[in-house]
Amino acid sequence: MSGVRLLVGTRKGAFVLTADGRRTKWSVDGPHFPGWEIYHVKGSPADPDRLYASQSSGWFGQLIQRSDDGGKSWEAVGNEFTYEGEAGTHQWYDGTPHPWEFKRVWHLEPSPGDPDTVWAGVEDAALFRSTDGGTTWQELSGLRGHGSGPSWAPGAGGMCLHTILPDPVDSARMFIAISAAGAFRTDDGGETWKPINRGLRSEHIPDPEAEVGHCVHRLAMHPSRPEVLFMQKHWDVMRTDDAGDNWREVSGNLPTDFGFAIDVHAHEPDTVYVVPIKSDAEHFPLDGKLRVYRSRTGGEEWEPLTKGLPQSDCYVNVLRDAMSVDTLDACGIYFGTTGGQVYASADAGDSWTTVVRDLPAVLSVEAQTLP
């Protein structure tokens, strides 16, 4: 019988949660790397037992861990992330130039076709690639070398490259997003990049045509339709139908359009999920009610999904990498909270159960569908 494995990164370690295809009974394995911040764990689409984990600490820096047995055992691989050439400067919070400094890996994106190829999105924002299973890393410096680089500035969480979406149809195309520079696209395998932020409106940017500076929180794509992207921006849920050349707002009837996480149903390209958060000053759900919102129309029209989720006194956050879907027939959707809960729905969001409720603050959740 098929099954699901959830790879959960938290402030104090990683956890591997597994269930069979019914997704009713879960086993919890962990913590792996106890005490360390695990920003992200993700499996290779080409080999589900090949996992990569980003392990970091303010004391001892960055490590990358690799597993070849689905998370039962791990091996520390390469952790040298050196910017290509002169590192240069970006803009600091006060507008002054600040040297580019590597801090951590936010997101690991294994290649769709090769278990040994994996991209890493890092803070200060840059994109690295390994083609030897994480042993060595090379920067794709055309991104940071884009002319706008010196004007990029950090968001409140740091200047992080947090989203990496390889185009499943065109292997030369990839989308990435940076807080708070915006979204970028390459059409030549990462050699050159263009900002794709036309149509975004941000209160703190007076110029409506600004090429960069937008605080993009997360991008999501359905693999069957890679030219359509959904974005949870700092404020606003956005959509593009032309691979980012133009964006339009699809927040519609959401009660608040601030948030971090966004994802797309595995089998319905126009079914989108977000978790509205009250505001950038109050990082918790509106009215203390934890509600996932689902649109079946590609945005604009949203419905709250509440069955099984706390509807009073809930003041957690759901971070940008902390939502994921499986690919079983009845699409499963999962998310983790800063309160340490992981919630699962085996019916596309209609109802929810608590997989585990007292983990450290959850930073990331990735679902793997197992044969």
Binding site: G35, S57, G58, W59, F60, G61, L63, A76, N79, E80
Partner: protein, 98 residues
Amino acid sequence: MIRVVLPRPLCAVAGAERELVLEVAEPVTQRTVLDALEARYPTLRGTIRDHVTKERRPFVRFFACARDLSHEPPDTPLPEQVVHGDEPFLVVGATAGG
């Protein structure tokens, strides 16, 4: 032989006990001890000092013989008691973060 004590979080990374014994060619300095440590446990590279500049990470401290050696130049000879293995060279994660 030089005795080195690792902070607990790095023991798991290295797959090592807290206290290690290393053979270090003279002169015995912070740099040569850390070179030997990283050669024997490559997964520790980048966790104690920067990969490229070899500068100590800000929240890592070095102690020996009840002295804080963190701000000593890396090529300064370590105390004789460390060189003779009577006292360990301590790598310590700073108390920080509340």
